[in-house]
């Protein structure tokens, strides 16, 4: 008994090294139904597959391991991409609905440690389920038809993407605090996951089970051994890890108190993601011209989309930052000016986006050093500046202190939607042409999607001045936002008079530098 007690004490002391969230979640999971049922399912599926696999092996074809491994991976995929992520969603949802998250906030645990702890707790669950199926997977190797390398490759990849799905569910769960909305999102996530699995996963598993080894293991399960495949796997893994880190940071942003700095880490994370995209495309610099050109196109699309989404969320941020954050920003730092682009506030957000745009233009010039391509890249940045900067600047000029970031983001989306349909609607209402002509024309210059996808026509018609002028207007809007942001942070006491409908404003500081 004393030895058992000593072991328990040793385990308790060792658990000090773990996140408190991991310890709590694992304790809850051990008593909860989800893990029991999942583990039970693992064992039942494993036993069934082992039984049929052994029976099939008696025929002596020596390839039974292939389809048994497929069936086991199908089971793990279901558990790893649906059951455990949904449990993750529920865990954080309950934490928010029961208001226990606020109690944790008061402890030494930061929101980031909370999110990472939640994610690690799900990893423990995943590892348990993987371990449950491990003997059956080993058996599939012994049955033949599947090589050890493929097994070693598949399991970590599936584990990684299960973690990614958990991180995505944590983020989705952090979006809403209301029970109804949270429930609706949970339902939506479950349906999407089920459809995803139905479209991409289950048919393959079912087909594998029915065909029992009809596929060649090399084409179905392994990535091959070519350098290109490994490079592809490395890129996919890096992309998975980078986006997972940003999902964690997004969840942290949603869980942090409004009085804290919620954006600096997120900005660093998304800059990292942008640098990864740029670095990946620049890795083709020494390739032949056509490959370089394709890499430029990939950067244009991926980088442009990244910039557009980031700009929509950063430039529309409120200009006034919480007082506690302001005090921290005032603290002297040797990297003060450098760190300014990561600081919260719409003004800093504008600088952050402009800095990334400069990187984007430089990378595009390296990959596609022609004036036409450069003008296209400028137009990408210009449209982003116009659609995100202009509404934000106009609103901030009228109500600089008002907290309205959500409304501004909606306004940006509405404005973009209008620009997509309004040119055609106005054309047909005002001119009433006999033929319904959707070909790209001058009226579409306000439509960024059509203009950028038909840039050759724009260049042929020499009408690039209009998008570039729109971009200039957007740039001016960004500069105005930066100026306004500076002005807002130097006001000593901007509390608005009582009775006004606007939100409260924190006092600023006179020592803020951009």
């Amino acid at each position: 008994m004393s030895r058992f007690r000593a072991l328990v004490d040793w385990l308790a002391n060792t658990s000090d090294w773990l996140s408190p969230l991991v310890v709590k979640e694992v304790r809850q999971a051990v008593r909860g139904r989800e893990l029991h049922y999942s583990f039970g399912l693992c064992l039942v599926v494993g036993l069934a597959v082992a039984f049929f696999g052994t029976a099939d092996a008696l025929t002596g074809n020596g390839t039974s391991g292939r389809w048994t491994f497929g069936a086991l991976i199908g089971c793990l995929t279901f558990l790893g991409l649906v059951v455990v992520p949904l449990g993750t969603f529920g865990a954080l949802r309950n934490e928010r609905l029961e208001q226990t998250l606020e109690l944790i906030t008061l402890t030494a645990l930061s929101p980031r440690r909370v999110v990472i702890g939640k994610l690690l707790a799900q990893d423990v669950k995943l590892a348990t389920l993987f371990a449950g199926l491990a003997p059956f997977i080993a058996m599939s190797f012994l049955l033949g038809g599947i090589d050890f390398g493929t097994i070693l490759l598949w399991l970590p990849v599936l584990f990684l993407w299960s973690m990614w799905a958990c991180a995505a569910c944590l983020f989705l769960s952090s979006l809403f605090t209301k029970r109804v909305m949270s429930g609706a999102v949970l339902g939506g996530v479950a349906i999407v996951m089920f459809l995803f699995l139905l479209v991409f996963g289950l048919p393959r598993v079912i087909f594998l089970l029915m065909s029992r080894g009809a596929f060649a293991g090399g084409t179905v399960f392994s990535f091959g051994v070519g350098a290109g495949s490994w490079w592809g796997l490395a890129i996919a893994t890096t992309a998975g890890l980078a986006t997972m880190a940003n999902l964690v940071l997004l969840a942290e942003n949603r869980l942090s108190l409004p009085t804290e700095d919620r954006v600096t880490a997120l900005r660093v994370g998304f800059l990292g993601q942008f640098l990864l995209i740029t670095a990946w495309t620049l890795s083709f610099l020494n390739e032949p011209a056509n490959v370089k050109w394709s890499a430029g196109q990939a950067l244009g699309v991926l980088g442009g989309l990244h910039l557009a989404v980031v700009a929509m969320f950063t430039v529309t941020e409120d200009l006034v930052v919480p007082r506690r954050v302001l005090l921290r920003m005032r603290a002297p730092s040797p990297y003060g000016r450098l760190l300014a682009i990561f600081r919260p506030g719409g003004g800093h957000g504008a600088i952050y986006v402009l800095a990334q745009m400069a990187l984007f233009l430089a990378a595009m010039w390296s990959l596609q050093p022609t004036s036409v391509s450069f003008r296209w890249s400028l137009a990408v940045c210009g449209y982003i500046c116009l659609f995100t900067g202009l509404p934000a600047a106009v609103f901030r000029f009228m109500r600089p202190a008002r907290a309205a970031s959500f409304q501004l983001r909606v306004a940006v989306l509405v404005l973009l939607s209008i620009s997509l349909v309004l040119p055609d609607v106005l054309f047909y209402v005002l001119w009433q042409p006999a033929v319904f002509d959707l070909r790209y024309a001058g009226r579409h210059l306000l439509n960024p999607v059509r203009t950028l996808t038909n840039w050759a026509v724009v260049e042929t018609n020499h009408s690039f001045a209009i998008p570039l002028a729109a971009g200039l207007a957007g740039l001016l809007a960004y500069l105005a936002l930066i100026h306004l942001g500076m002005r807002m942070t130097v006001q000593p006491d901007p509390i608005e008079p009582l009775g006004s409908a606007s939100a409260a404003v924190e006092p600023g500081s006179a020592n803020i530098s951009y």
Binding site: A12, N13, D16, P20, V23, K24, R27, Q28, R31, G32, N94, E98, Q99, T100, E102, L103, I104, T105, L106, T107, A108, L109, L257, T259, P322, R323, R324, L327, D493, I495, E496, P497, L498, G499, S500, A501, S502, A503, A504, V505, E506, P507
Partner: protein, 308 residues
């Protein structure tokens, strides 16, 4: 130990907290009194670092809630007006989790949890599921959670709400023991009789402004300037009411349950004289009583229409 200096917090143009300033000495229990929406919870959330003031600052143990929130959290325990319990978690696991969350490690953590279990007298509940406990016990566990890291200051928002009388008495005992242990306690409650027995000082807040602050005795003295007296006579009360109307210092006469109640502005000697006059006037006096003012009278007296 706890110093609030001109705290201001507005929400959409509504002043939730308006220039709130007061201080609490070490080992003192301060009752925070005010109607719903008066600004009690907002003030407490600012002190617990869950919110920031737009103007002013508060210091707990010398640390600013604005500049040193981490240090403030380390020395402060906050118990909101909800229990906040987990499913599939025993009492000991619940306390252990919060001890870990406060960065207590190894033996220190185990000792802290055992101390709380002993102090709270919940040894027989240690392996019970927290969710299955009664409201009173959950409240007790919540208090244990708030003090598991041995904070110097405790902020309790409506801690006695929804408790039965027995649980309230037990809770009151725990609070007094914590205060005797040197902890500074700020607590709000609607149950004013409870506050009178628990608190050394009270602060009254309405519409975000502090209306009165001081020891319970001092603040009650202010109310007692007008005492409430009650007279019961044999037979009809009309004559007594007319007689009392003519007496100096008598206000707001009304009949309630066969008694004539009125406010009296005089002192003890004046009260003796008034009884004498009533008897001399020939009223068949059955009962004469003085109603001693409590915190509820104080609350009504102070908050009624003073802030517009």
């Amino acid at each position: 130990m706890l110093q609030l200096d001109g705290l201001v917090r507005h929400f959409d143009g509504v002043r939730a907290v308006d220039e709130v300033s007061f201080s609490v000495e070490r080992g003192t229990v301060l009752g925070f009194i005010g109607p719903n929406g008066a600004g009690k919870t907002t003030t407490m959330r600012i002190l617990a670092t869950l919110d920031t003031p737009q103007r002013g600052d508060a210091r707990i143990g010398g640390y600013s809630v604005l500049e040193n929130p981490e240090e403030v959290r380390r020395i402060t325990g906050f118990m909101p007006d909800y229990a906040g319990v987990y499913a599939n978690t025993t009492v000991i696991e619940y306390l252990d989790f919060f001890a870990r969350a406060y960065d207590l490690r190894g033996e220190a953590r185990r000792r802290a949890v055992e101390n709380i279990i002993e102090f709270m007298g919940i040894g027989d509940l240690r392996d019970r599921n927290v969710e299955s406990l009664s409201k009173g016990l959950k409240q007790r566990i919540a208090l244990g959670r708030a003090i598991v890291h041995d904070p110097q200051v405790l902020i309790l928002d409506e801690p006695a709400a929804n408790l039965d009388p027995r649980a309230r008495i037990e809770f009151r005992t725990l609070i007094r023991e914590l205060a005797a242990d040197g902890k500074t306690i700020l607590l709000s409650s609607h149950i004013l009789t409870e506050l009178a027995e628990m608190c050394d000082t009270v602060t009254v807040i309405e519409k975000g402004r502090i209306l009165a602050t001081g020891t319970v005795q001092d603040v009650l003295e202010g109310v007692r300037r007008r005492r409430i007296l009650s007279v019961r006579v044999a037979g009809p009360t009309d004559g007594v009411e007319r007689f009392l109307l003519e007496q100096p210092g008598v206000l707001n006469i009304h009949e309630a349950g066969g008694r004539v109640q009125f406010e009296f502005g005089g002192g003890d000697d004046d009260q003796v004289s008034l009884v004498g006059r009533l008897v001399s006037a020939g009223f068949p006096l059955l009962e004469f009583s003085a109603h001693s003012a409590g915190l509820e009278d104080l609350f009504i007296e102070i908050t009624e229409g003073r802030v517009q």
